[in-house]
Symmetry: C2
Subunit: 419 residues, 2 copies
């Protein structure tokens, strides 16, 4: 029987009613003649509640114990879902990350998967049982409970899909796929039928929250096909897979944005070799995740270095910069958290010139100032004022014709590899 791996997020199992809904969906997949392995996240706000309890005790909980605590959430949702499947007359068996053979390194709270030995899952599947696996967690090489960090359950699902040789990894959430833009902001946003791993990586890295970046990286590395879809409808969602040479490439697949980053500028840095290395080594040592980096040519032997960092990392960044500014004899630094980063993504950019020009012109026509620009072969990102970002996203969505039915059809034609 073909093996299908499914992943259900926290909102999909937030109530008894929703758990029953997920159970029905899993049973339907099973009854259609598939072996089903479903990866389950913690219910709704469970993880936040557990974290809040920990923070009542200490602002900096020891990470090993934090993992012991947080891993309880998925066990609860998994066990409840198994019970729900029993009420539908099918046999289910739940496994912790450890029991499912998800082996990780010992980096608590953001462990990396180092191996998968899903023998118990395979035996249960071979025995005709529906298998449920607690997402987001594993067992370390030193036999402690670990969690995988942000996007962990998606990663569990993709890793199991690869290890079990599943045909597809279905990732269910409360959105029904990947859109050309956030539908809450852009009324005409259109659901994409397919996106390539590269496009999806750029989208996930630049604000699209539908799939976790790590899971897409894992999927690309092992060529696991992801189907991102809604747990509340039967509609087909978005397929994420390797770029196919025979596919027509959309010039632009989507517009994403994030307001979770701040812009930091180190001013008056002596223009000498190794200075940028000093700045970014200091930030890296402070575990600050730097995104865009720009160095402006300066006057009189000085230059400015700007970068974006997650707003959450800003306190650590400030500490690091206080030190490095003094050491380098720079003039100082500024941090601005009123910025937003907006990105235009599309595999077709590689072969279609003029995308950047149209993007900048569209924004200029509206008097929107560009604070920073960075590009990759399939992405152009701009930092602009947070106040204007929604307007800018709508303008670009419109300027690149992302809601036109023509593009719709063109993309639909790409679906030759599906069903």
């Amino acid at each position: 029987m073909p093996i299908v791996v499914q992943k259900y997020g926290g909102s999909s199992v937030a109530s008894t009613e929703r758990i029953m809904n997920v159970a029905r969906r899993i049973v339907a997949t099973y009854d259609a003649g598939n072996s089903v392995c479903a990866v389950i996240s913690a219910r709704g706000d469970t993880t936040d509640e557990l974290l809040a309890m920990a923070h009542e005790i200490t602002p900096r909980p020891p990470v090993r114990e934090l993992d012991m605590l947080l891993s309880a959430g998925e066990r609860i949702s998994c066990a409840l879902l198994a019970m729900a499947i029993y009420t539908l007359g099918r046999e289910a068996v739940s496994f912790t990350g450890s029991q499912a053979g998800i082996v990780t390194d010992t980096t608590h709270t953001k462990a990396q998967i180092v191996g998968i030995s899903p023998q118990r899952v395979e035996e249960a599947l071979a025995g005709g049982k529906i298998t449920l696996v607690a997402g987001f967690q594993g067992v370390s090489t030193s036999k402690d409970v670990t969690t995988l960090g942000r996007g962990g359950s998606d990663t569990t699902a993709v890793a199991l899909a690869h290890a079990l040789g599943a045909g597809v990894c279905e990732i269910y959430s409360d959105v029904d796929g990947v859109y050309t833009a956030n539908p809450a902001i852009v009324a005409g946003a259109r659901k994409l039928h397919t996106v390539s791993y590269d496009e999806m990586l750029e989208m996930a890295a630049s604000g699209a929250q539908v799939l976790a970046l790590r899971s897409v990286e894992y999927a690309r590395r092992y060529n696991v096909v992801i189907h991102s879809r809604s747990s509340f409808s039967d509609a087909e969602g978005t397929w994420v897979k390797e770029e196919d040479a025979s596919m027509e490439q959309a010039v632009v697949s989507g517009v994403t944005y994030t307001t979770d980053e701040a812009k930091v500028t180190v001013r008056g840095v002596p223009d000498q070799p190794g200075v940028a290395a000093d700045v970014f080594s200091a930030l890296a040592d402070a575990h600050v995740n730097v995104d865009m980096i720009i160095q402006n040519v300066g006057e009189q032997g000085y230059s400015d270095i700007s970068c974006t960092v997650p707003i959450d990392d800003l306190p650590s960044a400030r500490e690091a910069l206080d030190r490095v500014v003094a050491e380098l004899g720079a003039k100082g630094y500024t941090a601005d958290d009123t910025m937003a980063k907006m990105s235009l993504i599309g595999a077709g950019m590689r072969t279609h010139p003029g995308v950047a020009a149209l993007m900048f012109r569209t924004l200029a026509d509206r008097g929107i100032n560009l604070e920073m620009i960075s590009t990759s072969p399939i992405k152009i990102s701009c930092v602009i004022s947070k106040d204007r970002v929604e307007e800018a996203v709508r303008a670009l969505h419109d300027a690149f014709g992302l809601e036109s039915t023509a593009v719709n059809h063109e993309r639909a034609d790409r679906g030759v590899w599906h069903d």
Copy 2:
């Protein structure tokens, strides 16, 4: 360093404040020069909440999944407590039942411990760490998560105390020891300094809720000294240990009662060999836990058989009795849940005649009718009307002088083995 095993119940860790309180107590024991292994129950109502979620889904959850669900509660409290200990500047490491090497049979929801391999706990203790173990749970011989059922955490603690060679197993709860009677009912109830395993077993079996019956059985089998005490005070509690020939034996150590049992009577049973076996086999097959049994001599070749069963088992008992009454051609059966069982317990009864006579006289003087009587060498139990049980307990406590200071001193003298 001497090893001390402590066990903290659910009410001791019900809030952040209480968790900090337990952490301080553990650290004080550690700082006094002991290796500490603490067994922790789920917080307050966690287990009930998890059960309620399961029952929202199905009235009869599959037991394997129920154990996966319920075992989450102790992991949460253990991890939070470890964090609390860190805030006090000491190192703690929490273990699941599985990690602590609690190996059980495969009887989910009421597994029996079949072996203990606490290597990880021992290594952590040897490394100078405070160790915390999730109570109530283990891992089965087929590698599934199991729970130990009622009194499971006490049993985990006693089993670990034995396996680790601890000098004492301190069982903390919201009561500060074992009393001559329930202090909520008898104003003059007195805390006992020591009770023997046999006395404690009879007390636990007949209504005293301070220690779980199973854990006392385990302690008696392996000669583990239990110290039952309060997590809210530093006062010495009650020591439970092997009867010491040199100890003065109190004639009566306590009066217990329970209102959780119903009296069942099968009427008009043909007076033939094997009939009682048929009745109690049927009840055993229905997993009904029968306590007192009385067979009255009947007239004309018929007799009545009465027994007490837990009120919770009454539905199963009725099903079994409906069948067996028909099969045996008995006249019928009655079930009465307005009864209470009251017991007088004391190791000295073995050598002091007249205890039963004084008990029956005391009750008769108050016009309290005895529905059933059963005895062991150190216990006399009577079933009486639930309405009169508190009055009866007070009367017996008084009649046997359980609150007199004379008895108090006599018992205090017994404490030669404790300092």
